[in-house]
């Protein structure tokens, strides 16, 4: 990436555990809220209506966080694509590539946190895999990563065998706590607590750092572990963090379920002096109001616990882009 170009992160899937879709009841609630806010207003052109939506409605009324499972793109300015995870958001991403760049001649580098279904389920619907002339490199630290991908394509679960995909697909095994240079990025994987293990990735290009850390539970009484994650997040411009549960849940009924909370994400980012914390892997039960409330509460927590430095808090939504 040329030094003057900005690193951009695009979110294609932000939901945890399983994709969800907005229900008719939720659409109706949003419409009623919007129409009530618009009453007495003259919104007689698309421009006026759009302006009203952007300026006067809450995000949870005028938008949705979306329901696709984990898939994040790191846009480096180079020709190859870089992704984290291939959840159902990868389907939408693949279709976008087809529309903007054409069906063939593309290379994809996908860094896999782990082979749980919500992180690989987009691949059978990833259209670039169905065209020869595309190259797909799938990186990860799990020995059984390739097996997981092949398994979900096998009968009786899916009609097209993995071996019949026309794209050139390679699996690249990485080791944690080692630096790699891939597509202009310095990449470092780190082992995380999760059922069957998961790995976070620290990406650095020029002076910009993005950390992708999902499906990770943090053992709060293990100070060495907490410090090692603070180091992993150190001075990051953006930390994408699994905040699926509340802190109370992760220390009680959902202890050892392998996920973390907004509170722990903020504490780690404060220790690490990271610039931005992005809440990610949203609980499938949460609706838009609940995720918006989680964001507002996390911003408030940051305010009341702030030291000499502010951490900007974001909540990922499908379609969100952050320029660093």
């Amino acid at each position: 990436m040329p030094a003057d170009e900005r690193l951009t992160v695009k979110f294609w899937g932000t939901r945890g555990s399983i994709p969800v879709a907005m229900t008719s009841a939720e659409v109706r609630r949003k419409l009623i809220a919007a129409l009530l806010r618009a009453s007495g207003r003259t919104l007689d052109t698309p421009e006026k209506a759009a302006g009203f939506l952007e300026r006067e409605l809450d995000f949870a009324v005028s938008h949705t966080f979306g329901g696709d499972s984990s898939c994040v793109e790191i846009v480096t300015g180079r020709r190859d694509y870089v992704l984290c995870d291939l959840g159902s958001g990868a389907r939408v991403f693949g279709n976008d590539v087809l529309a903007t760049r054409g069906p063939s001649g593309n290379t994809f580098h996908a860094f896999m946190s782990h082979p749980h279904w919500d992180h690989i389920m987009g691949f059978p619907f990833f259209m670039p895999a169905y065209t020869s002339g595309n190259r797909i490199r799938i990186y990860g630290c799990h020995a059984d990563l390739e097996e997981a991908f092949r398994g979900q394509h096998a009968a009786p679960s899916f009609p097209v065998e993995f071996s019949r995909l026309p794209a050139a697909i390679e699996f690249v095994r990485l080791e944690p706590e080692r630096d790699y240079e891939i597509e202009g990025l310095r990449v470092r994987p780190k082992l995380q607590h999760h059922g069957g293990d998961s790995y976070g990735y620290r990406f650095q290009v020029n002076d910009k750092v993005v950390v992708y850390s999902t499906d990770a539970e943090h053992k709060l009484d293990d100070l060495a572990e907490i410090r090692s994650f603070a180091d992993f997040f150190r001075d990051a411009d953006l930390v994408i963090f699994d905040s699926q549960y509340s802190l109370a849940e992760t220390t009680s009924i959902k202890e050892d379920w392998g996920h973390s909370s907004n509170v722990v994400g903020l504490e780690l980012c404060q220790m690490a002096r990271a610039k931005r914390l992005c809440l990610y892997h949203h609980e499938p039960v949460s609706d838009d109001e609940q995720i918006a409330a989680l964001l507002a509460e996390t911003r408030r927590l940051e305010e009341i616990t702030r030291g000499d430095r502010r951490v900007e808090i974001l909540a990922a939504f499908d379609g969100m882009e952050i320029a660093l």
Partner: protein, 124 residues
């Protein structure tokens, strides 16, 4: 961490002071342990007076969760009272108000935990 303690009938009121974070939570846990060992059916009830606690981090909240679990398995009662506004917000945001018994004041905590303790408190 020093815990000031005061007894009202069958209830011990413990008062931690300052910040409960990564550097102090182990001390807080150790100071709490002997009281939690006696927080059982037929023995003591424990009320934590948080009026002098300025901040509590996730690891401190985890100590409270473990103490609460211990109290439950022993058939005892544990409450937390008199949170400063910022600490109350931390409890709300972390959802600890949903899993711990939190009271606006020590008196209200005693009223719920033990009528004899409330009588002793009101008697001064």
């Amino acid at each position: 961490m020093d815990l000031r303690q005061k007894r009202y009938a069958d209830t011990v009121v413990l008062s931690p002071v300052g910040r409960i974070d990564h550097s102090t939570s182990e001390g807080f846990k150790a100071a709490l342990a002997p009281y939690m060992a006696r927080c059982a059916v037929g023995l003591d009830r424990v009320l934590l007076d948080f009026v002098s606690v300025e901040y509590i981090s996730s690891v401190g909240l985890r100590v409270l969760m473990l103490a609460s679990k211990q109290a439950k398995t022993q058939g005892g009662s544990l409450g937390v009272a008199a949170l400063q506004p910022a600490v109350k917000e931390i409890f709300d945001i972390s959802r600890f108000t949903m899993v711990l018994d939190v009271f606006p004041s020590v008196r209200e905590g005693l009223a719920r935990l033990s009528p004899p303790a409330l009588a002793a408190f009101d008697a001064g």
